[in-house]
Point group: C2
Chain length 118, copies 2
């Protein structure tokens, strides 16, 4: 296996243990790792694809893919023209971008109430 | 607004309040509601589209869309040929299909450890 992929995979393994034991999530910023050509691709091939894919459209698109290892997610931030801004591996039960922020729920109820009154 | 859409919208509004106050999620099975022609479409038009869309590929595809009301999600279950099995409105901060089940995290760590040893 390529030299740079192995330490990242070990970091992911540790992060999965931490998630399992304490519930704590981890973010690994792949954009910050000096991969040799092909190493990053090899890392992504080892991680593979899971069943879940998602996208968030807000000032550019963010693509989220569950990898073949449950709890390990690939999160790719793109600018409005589709260029890569950053790529993260998130070790979490659910990437935060897929979770409605708590204050938005109350706002949403107020919004729907107003819509029903109109 | 169409007769059948309004009670469902009120149910969603109550469910948003419950989610905000107690954290409790609600599922409304649209397939079980006897909509008149066009009513369901009108309901979905009022709900609109949010920023998040997702799909889960496992024995048929499930499509998940956040609506324009944060915390209100449209979840469409399809069979392997794309036909509708069920359509739910979920009032929740995140549909459970997008959350890695807790026991899968430990399995995932073991799987990655095995992969790193091989």
């Amino acid at each position: 296996m390529a030299l740079n992929a192995v330490p990242v995979l070990h970091e992911i393994r540790h992060a999965l243990h931490r998630l399992d034991e304490t519930g704590e999530s981890t973010v690994i910023d792949l954009s910050a790792i000096p991969f040799a050509p092909g190493d990053r691709q090899q890392l992504l091939e080892v991680l593979g694809n899971g069943e879940v894919e998602a996208s968030i459209d807000a000032m550019g698109r963010t693509r989220i893919n569950e990898t073949g290892f449950p709890g390990v997610w690939l999160v790719q931030y793109q600018d409005t023209s589709g260029g890569e801004i950053a790529t993260h591996i998130e070790i979490t039960r659910c990437p935060s971008l897929l979770i409605t922020p708590e204050p938005d729920v109350a706002e949403s109820a107020a919004l729907l109430a107003a819509r029903l009154r109109s």
